[in-house]
């Protein structure tokens, strides 16, 4: 079927396009540096040693960022992750206090998380008509509710045996173990999303679910897998959280879903699906972690920090929208 007109189509990648895509990530790096400079200015105790020391409790939310990025790229949303963290942490703590060895408790945390994710995934793939927002809103109430029941009237649990948990909250030099774990996961998740067939399919689903399905992409299988993986990551997050808190309570994990979504959105991942890269999300994740450490060091009211994060989340979506509207007006 030779081209009758002999027309040729170029297939050399457009370099300028690529640099334009890189723009958001490089901006994020700039912002990361800026935030660090700011923190150094406002807090005299802001140095590498202290940052690493205080990092774990913020860093663990990155475990949720990775799968959340996938979910947002799919065009879905999961606001039950915080509740999964709470339930997993509760179950692991209860298991440990009943004399279960640490490794088994760790497995329990991860399996509980995975099961919760599986529940979300099953409901959403079996009843594709349902909006993920409402479904995960309902499961959020349920998972928190089950944790509440398990915790009983006291509403909290403290570990009686912290031996195993101390091991994962240990440090190598001045760097906490969890930092390395996060980096490993970051690399794995980023590479899968950006370099593999699976990742390309995720983008295809997010860009046009129907066309992806017609093109032979196993849409529902991928969604199920990602929602389950999200639960699994929430389980891992819960495990590290327990190793910091030495226990769990009814407010454990509250707001984690917002933090994860904020990191992703701030990193340039669109909530309408199909757009953005995990690298940006990771940089923005670290930026937010540093900001929280800095603000925490100057004893800022925790609620005020939440206000700032809320504003950041909205601004991250609002600013590009407004600037787009302005450029449109200019060209029109």
């Amino acid at each position: 079927m030779a081209g009758k007109s002999g027309r040729t189509i170029s297939n050399t990648p457009d370099k300028s396009l690529k640099s334009r895509l890189l723009c958001w990530e490089s901006m994020m790096i700039l912002l990361f540096i800026l935030v660090n400079v700011l923190c150094i200015c406002i807090s005299p105790t802001y140095n590498i040693r202290n940052v690493f020391r205080e990092m774990p409790k913020y860093l663990i939310e990155m475990f949720l960022l990775f799968p959340m990025a996938y979910i947002l790229v799919l065009g879905d949303i999961d606001i039950s992750v915080g509740a999964i963290v709470c339930l997993s942490a509760t179950m692991a703590s209860i298991a440990t206090n009943n004399g279960v060895p640490f490794l088994v408790a760790a497995v329990i945390a991860i399996v509980v998380g995975m099961l919760c994710g599986l529940v979300n995934g099953c409901i959403l793939t079996m009843f594709t008509e349902l909006p993920p927002m409402i479904v995960t809103l309902a499961t959020q109430i349920i998972f928190f509710g089950i944790a509440e029941i398990a915790l009983g009237s006291g509403g909290s649990i403290s570990l009686t045996d912290t031996a195993g948990y101390k091991a994962i909250s240990a440090k190598i030099g001045m760097v906490p173990v969890v930092f390395f774990v996060v980096i490993v996961f970051a690399v794995i998740f980023t590479v899968i999303l950006s370099r593999t067939t699976f990742g390309r399919n995720v983008y295809a689903i997010g860009s046009n679910r129907v066309a992806a399905y017609y093109s032979g992409v196993p849409v529902q299988r991928i969604r199920l897998l990602i929602f389950t993986a999200t639960g699994l990551m929430a389980g891992i997050c819960a495990l590290f959280l327990t190793s910091i808190l030495y226990g769990a309570n009814t407010t454990t994990g509250k707001g984690f879903e917002m933090d994860a979504i904020a990191m992703a959105v701030f990193g340039g991942i669109s909530t309408s699906g199909g757009k953005g890269r995990l690298l940006g999300g990771i940089i923005s994740g670290f930026t937010i972690v540093c900001l929280r450490i800095g603000l925490g060091q100057i004893n800022m009211h925790p609620q005020l920090i939440l206000i700032i994060l809320g504003i950041l989340l909205i601004a991250a979506v609002l600013v590009p929208n407004i600037s787009m509207a302005f450029t449109k007006k200019k060209t029109a």
């Binding site: 606001i79 409402i134 479904v135 509710g145 879903e257 917002m258 959105v265 609620q303």
Partner: protein
């Protein structure tokens, strides 16, 4: 073709009727277990305790009709309630009516900000309201400066919820008035029908001369106003103002709507349905201990109910579609 339509019509029309039956059965079962349930004072008490949820349900009905969502309402409530509480505690404002106005104003401002962000900024409602949930809750803490206003600090304001007019508690009057207004507005006025139109097909509104973004802004504004009002109501009903008041109660409001047959994808729902949904939520909370379910499990049960209802909706829709197909003669 004609028969099919009328059956479909009957089912959609009888949605409220079937909910009503559920409500009556619920009442009946509880009455069997506890004969003091269906007495005027018991019902009045129940309505008063759920008035806050019932009022906000009206706003959420509008938000869901548009296909949106607002999970910041409990925070708006806390901000307005806390502000009023502190104003009274500091003795700045003592007039009850003025307190209500201030609460409504604060709610309106919050709602306007949310509405602008969503309608003009084109931020997804779930993302925007998730952000504002933290911002407004944080603001409530800031207003409280880590204090709270107890019954003794609230003076005459707390009496509002204790007094009644014509034998009906003031709080319940507010609920009745709100529902009456919304019942008329949603069915009989252009504005109300515009909300349905935008929720049903946003693209088509331009041709009908409806400004969808203005309707959207307006809906979130109304949601804010009702949340503000609910804030003042919560302070007087519970005779206290705390920055963490009504935490996570937006779930109850959404649950009431979903149970009341309001579609979460927009376009479908009614004031009557929302009312019955809110009543069912109220009665379930009361019934759980009676049927031996611990109060601690209440949230789980609520979550399960939402899940079951939305799944049931899908299943019935599917069987309905299938029956239509089977009926198609070939």
């Amino acid at each position: 073709m004609k028969d099919k339509k009328s059956i479909l019509g009957k089912i959609t029309a009888s949605r409220e009727a079937s909910l009503m039956i559920v409500l009556i059965i619920l009442c009946f079962v509880i009455q069997m277990r506890n004969s003091s349930f269906l007495t005027p004072s018991s019902i009045g008490e129940m309505l008063k305790n759920n008035a806050v949820i019932m009022v906000m349900t009206l706003g959420m009905l509008n938000v869901l009709l548009l296909g949106g969502i607002d999970i910041s309402i409990a925070s708006t409530l806390a901000l307005s309630g806390m502000s009023v509480g502190m104003l009274i505690k500091r003795g700045i404002v003592t007039n009850t009516f003025l307190c209500f106005m201030i609460a409504i104003l604060i709610g309106a401002v919050c709602g306007a900000i949310v509405g602008l962000t969503i309608s003009k900024g084109r931020v997804l409602p779930i993302i925007a309201t998730m952000g504002f949930m933290y911002i407004f809750r944080g603001a409530a803490y800031m207003v409280s400066s880590d204090e709270w206003a107890g019954a003794d600090a609230l003076g005459s304001f707390k009496d509002f919820a204790l007094n009644s007019v014509l034998g009906i508690n003031n709080i319940i009057w507010i609920v009745i008035v709100c529902y009456a207004i919304f019942f008329i507005v949603m069915k009989w006025t252009k504005v109300g029908r515009m909300v349905y139109a935008v929720g049903s097909n946003r693209e088509a509104t331009m041709i009908s001369g409806i400004r969808a973004d203005r309707v959207e802004f307006f809906v979130y504004l109304i949601m804010g106003i009702l949340s503000g009002l609910a804030g003042a109501m919560a302070v007087t009903v519970y005779a206290s103002a705390q920055p963490n008041m009504m935490y996570a109660k937006e779930m109850d409001v959404i649950a009431a709507c979903v149970i009341g047959g309001v579609s979460t994808t927009g376009g479908r729902g009614s004031v009557g349905g929302a009312l019955i949904g809110a009543l069912i939520i109220a009665i379930i909370a009361k019934a759980l201990p009676l049927v031996g379910i611990d109060a601690i499990a209440q949230n789980t049960v609520k979550g399960l109910i939402i899940l079951v209802v939305i799944v049931l909706n899908v299943v019935t829709q599917r069987t309905m579609d299938k029956n239509v197909l089977k009926g198609r003669e070939m």
